[in-house]
Symmetry: D2
Subunit: 134 residues, 4 copies
């Protein structure tokens, strides 16, 4: 794919920073999740609606590489690419980059699977056209 | 080592649960961090004090395997083991287990490094005696 | 009532502290909510179950007086008393006190109402026996 | 004052919603705090810098009226007006309004005081020109 990956722009909120004066490690997962949901929404897949219908997109693994730390008042982008890993498995490849210098703060790979109401693996047809091949 | 790993017992708080009715993925990092800080405190290493002194224990990688989801009102343990990875690198091996059935919810490996005031890698002597060999 | 109010004991978690090195203001609402849910649970009223049944205990006003700030590693109690304010209205009177010196950190009054599936005010019979008169 | 109050526009993030499918009560304080800090920043008062200099803007009371609940995917504004209450006391008047219908979700009054390094009340000269009379 030569397309630019999907991307949102956010800003650090002071309450997201901890004693060390930097964004707390756990907050990046919030950023990544929000970007994934915006990605799905932009593609007309509504996460809250899927949940209400009993289809759960379940994260089974998160791999997060912390490169640099975001600080108060900084602006950053969160990108999202979706990769097909198996019949019912997928992985989101995501990057958090400080702006305007585009410096890489965090690289994430979030792997998951669709589950139906019975907790069984389930192809989520809405996701299929959004996936790049691995 | 034949010792039992360090362990704390916590309880799910409803505000930690999301739309899906389960503990939100990012919250596990809070649990893990709190357990690491309690571990350090139990060993007489005060995280807030180290931070005030300019010594930062910096997470460089988090690998989280989500096995099952914690739900409202459930009690769980978070264990902590510290492994020496290199001269200035370490990794915390952690497990979140639901109680009383001891079912594994999440397995985490949090890798990091000590940094001094100048942002240079730094041996944190207080950690050395706490480490198992890799 | 001469009874001791219901009380839980918690401990500050470092991730709850912000740039100022103290527990962030918004976190006290988490503490208060958790204590209220534990109070209800202790009285055999399950908040998550009520929610699942379409009965919502809705907060309509929160008044929080911040007296002193909790810091890392501190232990504290959160108390809960429930007061009847009107036919369908109630108020939780709550205090956060640092331990072991019992110093008052925060005083809260959380007023609310029961709503049924249609969003109409609704007496929650389970709450009635738990209420003190105003 | 005939000026429009200062205002920021935000969007609900799914992780801010709880079991009830709505934004958790405590999260509104995060929204309000972020809007206050953006207000100060827009007026060239840097909250993180003040904190680093030992000047703390300390909240002593928060009064929050919950009118309606924000839901996933909704956009909203948070307004900020600063009122002089006494020599060293101030109050932020804030509203959270859903967009585009401008419906009032929450009304807040956050009262506070400036404190210096010694914890003594302290006029924060940077705030004076930003204040309306009560």
């Amino acid at each position: 794919m030569t397309d630019e990956p999907f991307k949102i722009t956010l800003e650090v909120r002071d309450y997201e920073c901890d004693l060390q004066g930097i964004v707390n490690n756990s907050v990046y997962q919030n950023y990544l999740e929000h970007a994934r949901h915006k990605f799905l929404q932009a593609k007309n897949v509504d996460f809250a609606k899927l949940t209400a219908e009993g289809i759960h997109l379940v994260v089974i693994k998160a791999e997060l590489e912390y490169k640099k730390s975001l600080k108060p008042n900084e602006t950053f982008t969160v990108s999202v690419e979706l990769e097909k890993v198996g019949r019912v498995r997928w992985a989101f490849l995501q990057e958090v980059r400080r702006q305007p210098d585009n410096e890489l703060m965090l690289k994430g790979r979030i792997s998951g699977v669709g589950l139906n109401q019975n907790g069984r693996p389930h192809v989520v047809p809405e996701l299929e056209p959004l996936m790049n091949d691995a």
